[in-house]
Assembly symmetry: C2
Homo-oligomer: 387 residues x 2
């Protein structure tokens, strides 16, 4: 039937959640996994075991794929450049992806196109010089401030809040010992966090999803409210415009998530970029006409994009973070019986404390009710509530 | 994580469409396929090749499954009874499934519980006796009437409209030559066809989906309108009540579809039963909070059932029947660009004239608009429209 093959590097839950969209479209997925029991490998027959850091292994995987895309951004640039040299369609391309891989490159780009960011500076690798520069930076922007690894951080890892000189030295020493490059950023006094997601295809079409509010705890996303409660139409359009501008300027193909701080006066400041389906868009699987996973596939295949229209006035997503309940399935009985509208998504991952092992979504007319339903189910599924 | 394994006998598109629901729930599917390129085998890693007519082959397949269910009803009773003897949870069980396998058994059951059916009679296997009895039956109910194979018919196959004695003899001769058992049925002067779907679990919980109208051509379902346009609330409740009653009386587990004729005076007459996800419920994938596929899994696993609530006032599904376009993918460009709300589902099947190779669904506020959108897309995808 002439259906294309989409290769995915990485076999986590984002690759897994591409499979339902691919099943519907008749598009074939091939996934590069490190182990045969990874989340996506459990549900995609064409699973190839290989090393994503090895250019030959990845090139072999890519043979026969019409396009190659990603479960995560941590694929080394030389591996991607090798694919491009071989003529493989890599989407997003390495030139775009670098802005999600390296926060320094991202900040420079955003500054150059006039998008609001926290004040920041790169730090040198020598600890003494880094200490002097960071302390001087803190004197300008105020203590406490933020240190970030420019590469490899996620879910709160690679981000430190620095209250004093002793803490500064400790983090700098630790980073130097592991060869981690750092940058310093002003602590933004935000009142909440938002996420603006867009899909963009190689020929330049783009669609913007409703802007959502994300609730983090310990640097990890816990809940998402779609649309962001009380966000006025102008501010919502501004957030969408920022995401569309970034997508165009750096030639993103596929999904782009722009994580934003919102200040007390309403102003928007860009925090992070993600160039793939994103946790802040999981609500779209059940809550929108076209999920972020379907639109990611459509975008990387350069097909016309689908409507991001929501099904209900409110959608709330809550992550299920592993606690100590090894066997979640019995909790299905309570959760499903309590709430016939609950949508459960489990990733087939072993339970480890703090690990994202699934999520739930509920749709409804009112925020408070939806938050209560989603929060209860996420807590019960992880074993937090005894009743 | 203690997640159950659901075995599916048969690897057609219904088994395929169970996979997205299973991916979300974290439930593992194992499918028994005749060939590795069948529709479901393409998307379910745990595919076992085997012969569904061979008790040993099916028993081996079932080992390690927590429950076994079906893509279609054409599994021989001795195969199922062997599974039950081995202690395998077979859902629906052979005692329920026989009512979808044998139209004579189904008609007897429906008569015994007072559900309205066409007048009918079993015919003997000897052609001369069958001719005499069928002709006498036709004199009572009027010509033309219907002959049906009691077993194995689908999509208009195994059903003949008999206008005269010559045609009667021809069909009887053909059936006798192939060893096909027949029954005669009165031709019901219906104005439209409806389908009432329910899910029912072993502990007796059941949910009813909105009653839909199905539009057939040449015995094959072409379009489904959800909910059935202009069906008054009492009649809708009556159809749901019929389906719930049948499900309870014959102890159905999983999805049950009751296909109904509606007469000019509004009366409902049962035509066929299907005990599995059904073409008349494909709209629920995109159009309801819980799809028929998810509820089938939840039902056979004896989990609480999900809400059948629709997302929009109207959903229209149109089947894509193969014509002569071997490569459908280029048609995606036109269809997706014309209608960003269109939901395309392709089954990974080779194109053959008249074969169901996919379907499309659209949601909206008005029936006429939705029908136009779905009909256009289904026609274009099969290659019917040159523009």
């Amino acid at each position: 039937m002439g259906m294309p093959v989409v290769g995915i590097i990485g076999a986590g839950q984002l690759a897994r959640m591409l499979q339902p969209a691919a099943v519907a479209l008749g598009v074939r997925l091939r996934v590069l996994a490190a182990r045969s029991d990874e989340s996506a490998a459990q549900v995609i027959p064409d699973t190839v075991l290989g090393d994503q850091d090895d250019p030959q292994s990845v090139a072999e995987f890519a043979r026969g794929c019409d396009v190659v895309t990603f479960d995560h951004e941590q694929v080394p640039a030389p591996v991607l450049e090798h694919l491009v040299e071989l003529g493989v369609a890599v989407r997003p391309g390495p030139g775009a992806l670098i802005h999600a891989q390296d926060k320094g490159v991202m900040r420079e780009l955003l500054a150059s196109i006039g998008v609001s960011c926290p004040r920041w500076t790169r730090l040198p690798s020598v600890v003494e010089s880094a200490f002097t520069e960071a302390a001087a930076f803190a004197e300008q922007v105020g203590w406490p401030f933020i240190l970030k690894a420019t590469r490899g951080g996620y879910d709160g890892k690679g981000v430190w809040r620095i209250d004093d000189a002793a803490q500064l030295r400790e983090v700098l020493d630790g980073a130097a010992a592991r060869g981690v490059e750092l940058m310093a950023e002003a602590l933004v006094p935000f009142v909440r966090e938002l996420s603006a997601q867009v899909a963009r295809s190689p020929h330049g079409q783009a669609v913007a999803y409703p802007v959502v509010e994300t609730v983090q705890r310990d640097g990890v996303c816990r809940e998402v409210y779609a649309p962001a409660p009380g966000l006025d139409a102008d501010r919502s359009a501004e957030a969408q415009h920022i995401a569309l501008t970034i997508a165009r300027e750096i030639d993103v193909t596929g999904m782009l998530a722009v994580e934003l701080f919102q200040a007390a006066d309403g102003a928007l400041i860009v925090n992070e970029l993600a160039m793939r389906p994103h946790n802040s868009g999981h609500w779209t699987i059940d809550g929108a006409v076209t999920s972020q996973f379907e639109n990611h596939l459509r975008a990387v295949l350069d097909l016309p994009l689908g409507a991001p229209t929501p099904h209900a006035p409110v959608a709330v997503m809550a992550n299920v973070l592993g606690l100590d309940l090894p066997d979640l399935y019995p909790a299905y009985l309570h959760c499903m019986a309590r709430d016939p509208g609950l949508k459960i998504h489990m990733y087939g991952k072993a339970v480890k404390p703090g690990r994202k092992i699934g999520h739930v979504t509920v749709l409804g007319a009112g925020l408070d009710d939806c938050v209560e339903r989603a929060r209860h189910a996420a807590a019960y599924l992880r074993g937090e509530i005894d009743e």
